[in-house]
Amino acid sequence: MTIEDQLRAILRDVLGLGAERAAAIETDTPLFGAMPELDSMAVAGLLTEIEDRLHILIEDDEVGGEMLETFGGLVDFVKAKRGG
């Protein structure tokens, strides 16, 4: 599974999205502030699930800004954390 597919699966699981909606998430799909399921409490679960499944550690001060703005921002953040 690619990082993109893994992140789609995590978003689907954590937010309870249907399969079609999760599959339709693209690089420029807006996340925080645009996806109603993704409130600040859901972000907490999302980050922990990303840490567990993608084997990275996310510091509190890294959260926010571009990282949660769009799906592409989240993908870039995770890829950078994993060393490319």
């Binding site: 599974m1 907490a44 922990t48 840490e51 567990d52």
Partner: protein, 221 residues
């Protein structure tokens, strides 16, 4: 049928309670629930699994650990050793009541404690203590509450220390189930929804049935 669907309340350990479903003369299963908020989110699923197993002749025992659920003790006074001792006491009580050593089915953080029961262990989506603590801290930050009392949970420093290093024990006879969308090591993957992540109460009947089938064939093997 009615007897299987209505659990009995059993005291165990010192002032703790567990629910018992099903007959005393079949295989016996000690069910270890997730920890903290995940326990509430999974409660309906776990009760459904216990009822379905009871109807198949499998006895299910569902302890509320000290400081959780129906326990009379406060969580802030609980140490990790209290939980391990409670599970050992619960397993001993099941053996005394039924003459059968129970197998364990542990969900999420429950898998951090299942070695206390010394028996065959089945796990659903086991997690680490570090991950649970991260979740509690982030939820507190998100809700604007004090990170020392995340989401109303006050943990003793001793419990936090023990959790920070807690990992599911690999010793002994362990079988691990994970969701199909989770690619960490597992003996079997099942299609389903991580109900422990859902802030709104949710159910997943298909997943519940798959788990019941899995437990019934595992406990008979």
């Amino acid at each position: 049928m009615t007897a299987a669907r209505c659990p009995r309340v059993h005291p165990y350990a010192d002032g703790e309670f567990m629910l018992a479903y099903g007959p005393p003369d079949g295989p016996q299963l000690l069910v270890l629930q997730p920890l903290f908020e995940e326990m509430n989110r999974c409660r309906a699923m776990i009760a459904g699994i216990c009822r379905a197993l009871a109807e198949r002749g499998i006895g299910c025992w569902l302890p509320d650990l000290p400081g959780t659920g129906e326990s009379l003790r406060a969580l802030d006074d609980i140490r990790w050793e209290d939980w391990l001792a409670a599970i050992e006491a619960a397993a001993t009580m099941v053996r005394n009541e039924t003459s059968t050593l129970p197998s364990t089915f542990a969900i999420r953080g429950g898998a951090l404690l299942d070695q206390a029961a010394v028996s065959r262990r089945l796990r659903l989506a086991p997690t680490t203590g570090r991950s649970l603590l991260s979740d509690l801290r982030r939820s507190a930050l998100a809700s604007g509450s004090d990170p020392a009392r995340p989401a109303g949970y006050t943990l003793s420093p001793a419990l936090v220390d023990a959790l920070a290093n807690a990992e599911p024990s690999a010793d002994g006879d362990v079988r691990t189930l994970r969701l199909a969308s989770d690619d960490r090591p597992a003996d079997r993957r099942i299609d389903g929804t991580p109900l422990w992540r859902r802030p709104e109460p949710a159910t997943d009947k298909g997943m519940e049935v798959a788990i019941v089938e899995e437990i019934a064939s595992w406990i008979a093997s």
